[in-house]
Symmetry: C2
Subunit: 193 residues, 2 copies
């Protein structure tokens, strides 16, 4: 059942049988429907989730009630609110399924156990978060230096599959523009190839 996860770690430092045996009993599979939540504002985030199948979004809600996406995750990606996970303070974020989704979740005490008993997990999760950091930094820089149209084209370029899979209003939220304005951008882009 944790086969997707074992394959995933081969990209970093592959796990040996002993490590797989440590990991397997500390993950649990969970199925969530479209529009269900893995995390809601106010919850303390106590898990890392590995997406086996499906697609989720992570977002914050501003004082006017608008949602602002900061991260998407699909097959073979990890998602969690690292801030809340560490501090054990209530999260200000939501993680919600955009499709029927299957995750493997690792509970915080189990992850700490893995860190303590096997340094390779420290290593692997260090590299995972480094990659996430690079991606986020790239996104943050583009957001302050490029126009909305440039950001949209960059998104299509960087996440071609995702852009076909999720509603464009979700992309708009991630890019920091309104759905209406993104619609205009799409029209312009279609006109001017």
């Amino acid at each position: 059942m944790i086969q997707p996860l074992v394959s995933y770690f081969k990209k970093y430092v592959a796990l040996d049988q002993h490590e797989i045996d440590l990991l397997a009993p500390r993950t649990s599979q969970r199925k969530i429907k479209r529009r269900q939540f893995l995390l809601q504002e106010g919850d303390v985030c106590r898990h890392y989730w590995f997406i086996v199948r499906g697609c989720v979004k992570m977002y914050g809600v501003d004082k006017k009630g608008k949602e602002h996406n900061i991260e998407f995750a699909t097959e073979n990606e990890w998602i969690t609110d690292i801030g809340s996970f560490h501090t054990e303070k209530p999260s200000k974020l939501y993680i919600e399924a955009m499709e029927p989704t299957v995750v493997l979740q690792v509970h915080k005490p189990d992850l700490l156990f893995l860190y303590v008993h096997c340094p390779k997990f420290d290593r692997n999760f260090r590299v995972i978060i480094e990659n996430k950091f690079v991606e986020l930094q790239h996104h943050a820089l583009k957001n302050i230096s490029n126009s909305a149209e440039e950001r949209y084209l960059a998104f299509l370029d960087q996440y071609p599959k995702l852009s076909l899979r999720i509603p464009s209003a979700q992309i708009a939220s991630y890019l920091g523009v309104t759905p209406e304005f993104l619609s205009k951008i799409r029209k312009d882009v279609a006109r001017h190839p």
Copy 2:
């Protein structure tokens, strides 16, 4: 000489004498003047830098030649272009001193040596990057969900010392607004307490 760094690690998982002895010969102190660079676009980033004294900014330059700050670092903080450091591809970023600055730098082969020979460094650098990730995520979310004035006030609140230490044009660049517009914000804020 590496005393500031040893003290720093006590915040995470403190180093024992053996680990200090591994680390010390693998750091080198470097002094850079105001406006000098630790990294320029096109360089491959081969170091982690720990700021002992001073202050640096990391930024990208857009096609119109404008600088956009994505990170500041001051005493007891690490800075590097993690993307370039990992891939060994040329960086698209600059790291420039805003004040006369003293850093301890760790060269990539030395860091890899530390990772391999002592798991505690994996652990510590995992936690360091996790904290940086949380900070960046916070910033990215604010940038798409708040007005320029709200972002400015949040910056003052989160980095009160830094906001007194660096020119406000640098803050404007970090917040994604022009210096002129930030000036107007400051006037409004001063008027309306």
